[in-house]
């Protein structure tokens, strides 16, 4: 199990965060994640970096995509149990937690409110500091700490995000991103519309991966759109669905070509971003990071550039409470907290709008 390995890891935090003011006594943070389909509670204690608990309850739609109301219902039902289980796994009482971190955005409003409500309640009832965490920053921080990277070019891909970012002074800079829909969204909608999903993921393979197994590349049937370091997926999706309806291309070839173009666009944008930024490390994070084919492409690209490459351990690629707790820890030692009465959710909270005090490189 990957968790066991990361649990007792001896990660040197100073190599990742050179000027971090680590507290002399370990701090325990509980993190709550509820931005989309996963309700997660994670508990992290540091220094040294240790994951004490990681419990999740995932809402899987029986058909179609995430229906916010159903997702909320699922979360409300499972939240208390998930919290309890996490505390039990860590062997802690709630009093032994030093602060509560909660993902306040970006994400779906209704589901965000579930996590925010729980976070506010815990913080005010047990009189703990409440830490606001940006979901995107959390994905990056857990990747950085588990991969041991200090200044990477971050490729962050999930159902809602496709972003290429680098470290700026006290924040992250977005140097490339999708101009319309996210890569994960493009894969999900495509597989749904052609009738091979849900379920979207079977044994860690996406429906599109399974479908393209015996496919081959067909030249010139789908558009390829990379502009500078930005890319677009909506035109690709529309064109692929139109071809599917016509039925002129074999399904496995269509899947293969679609996936090939979708991943290549991201890899080429990242390639250019490396050229522009001059970074020497590439870090792949986010839910779609669990895709082996995408990871392979980015690895080949990084090697071609002479850069080191790492993808976040698969277990922590998807949404989880641990990454919120870890980012909460970083925020906590820099004194970033919010009074519970002001802890509003932010559905639209761009990565580059977040103050990140531990980013000291410019």
């Amino acid at each position: 199990m990957e968790t066991v390995a990361t649990r007792n890891s001896s990660i040197n935090l100073y190599t990742i965060y050179p000027s971090i003011p680590l507290p002399s006594k370990p701090v325990t943070i509980l993190g709550i994640e509820s931005t989309a389909h996963t309700f997660g509670v994670g508990i992290v204690r540091s220094p040294p970096f240790r994951i004490l608990a990681d419990k999740r309850s995932k809402y899987v739609p029986p058909s179609g995509g995430i229906k916010p109301r159903d997702a909320v219902e699922h979360m409300v039902k499972n939240a208390p149990k998930t919290l309890e289980e996490a505390l039990r796994e860590a062997g802690l009482e709630i009093d032994e937690i030093d602060a509560v971190a909660v993902a306040l955005g970006p994400g779906l409003g209704p589901t965000l409110r579930v996590g925010a409500t729980l976070g506010r309640a815990l913080a005010s009832y047990y009189n703990k500091p409440l830490i606001p965490v940006n979901h995107a920053v959390a994905h990056i921080e857990i990747g950085k700490v588990l991969c041991g990277m200090n200044d990477p070019l971050v490729v962050y891909v999930s159902g809602g995000n496709t972003t290429i970012a680098i470290t700026g002074y006290q924040r992250y800079l977005v140097i490339g991103e999708t101009m319309d829909i996210a890569l994960g969204n493009a894969l999900d909608v495509f597989s749904r519309e052609i009738g091979i999903a849900p379920p979207y993921i079977v044994n860690g393979m996406h429906a599109v991966d399974l479908c393209s197994k015996n496919g081959k590349y067909v030249k010139g049937i789908l558009p390829y759109t990379v502009k500078g370091q930005d890319m677009s997926y909506s035109g690709l999706l529309t064109a692929a669905l139109r071809l599917f309806k016509k039925g002129a291309v074999k399904l496995e070839d269509l899947c293969f070509t679609y996936r090939e173009i979708a991943f290549s666009q991201l890899a080429e944008a990242a390639d250019r971003a490396l050229g522009v930024s001059g970074k020497r490390q590439v870090l792949l994070v986010g839910g779609v990071a669990a895709n082996d084919e995408l990871s392979r492409k980015l690895q080949v690209m990084s090697e071609e550039r002479g850069c080191s490459y790492c993808r976040v351990p698969k277990r922590y690629a998807g949404d989880n409470g641990v990454m919120i707790a870890w980012t909460g820890f970083l925020s906590y030692i820099y004194g970033v907290t919010v009074p519970p009465m002001n802890a509003y959710i932010k559905q639209r909270w761009r990565l580059d709008k977040v103050e990140v005090p531990w980013n000291t490189a410019s």
Binding site: P132, Y217, K227, A267, M301, E304, V336, V338, V354
Partner: protein, 230 residues
């Protein structure tokens, strides 16, 4: 058959590799006795070979089309000699001179800045944007002309945002090598020349101000030390 003979000539024309960019290798060459450069697009191992061929050819088509379009506008751009789509290679006239970036450090004449602005106006007038309009991509020739090179990222576009981005990139590139007052001065000269030939200056001006403002908000964000909790 004939094609392969031409390809052989292409290979023989190459003299020395002068630069490796993100997208292409640049070779110094002699094309039927004329000084030329050969730009060969890079192989990218992470792309499917057929996809790579597809996009490289597409981009070469665009680049050749733009070079030919611009040749009729009076802008000094490299003359296109030949295109080898199967080899991903473009043969262009070599432009002798020094980069404007170098020339600016030695305090070259404002005439070159004026030309850079005027040429960008002419480029935008025919619905083309350069995409990487920095002083590194301009060459001051011995006759004092300012030639524009590297249309690898250029596109057909009339979007004010794209056009304003060309202007903004130029501003950033002179800011990085000149003292602020002089850079501001030069950018004024540049804009004056640009707007005197470009017809839709007003929309671009508005967008340019917006882009520069984006930058300023960034500064303000940096100065604030506390996270806003809204």
């Amino acid at each position: 058959m004939e094609h392969s003979i031409l390809e052989e000539i292409l290979e023989r024309s190459k003299q020395e590799l002068v630069a490796i960019g993100a997208e292409a290798q640049i070779w110094k060459a002699s094309w039927y006795g004329y000084p030329a450069i050969i730009k060969v697009r890079r192989r990218k191992k992470y792309l499917h070979p057929q996809l790579l061929d597809e996009i490289n050819v597409k981009r070469m088509r665009r680049e050749t089309k733009i070079l030919v379009t611009l040749a009729k506008t009076g802008v000094c751009v490299p003359t296109l000699y030949a295109a080898f789509f199967s080899k991903w290679a473009l043969v262009m006239k070599a432009i002798e001179g020094q980069p404007l970036s170098q020339c600016l450090k030695d305090r070259c004449s404002q005439e070159n800045i004026k030309l850079a602005g005027r040429y960008l106006g002419l480029i935008h007038n025919v619905g083309v944007i350069h995409g990487d309009y920095t002083v590194n991509n301009m060459i001051v020739t011995n006759r004092g002309d300012t030639c524009i090179i590297d249309f690898g990222l250029s596109e057909f576009s009339t979007d004010p945002e794209d056009r304003a981005m060309d202007l903004y990139l130029f501003l950033k590139s002179i800011n990085s090598i000149l003292p602020p007052e002089i850079a501001e001065d030069y950018f004024g000269i540049f804009l004056k020349a640009y707007s005197s030939v470009f017809n839709e200056w007003y929309a671009v001006k508005e967008r340019l101000e917006e882009i520069m403002l984006r930058g300023r908000y960034v500064e303000e964000r940096r100065l604030s030390t506390r996270v806003s909790d809204r």
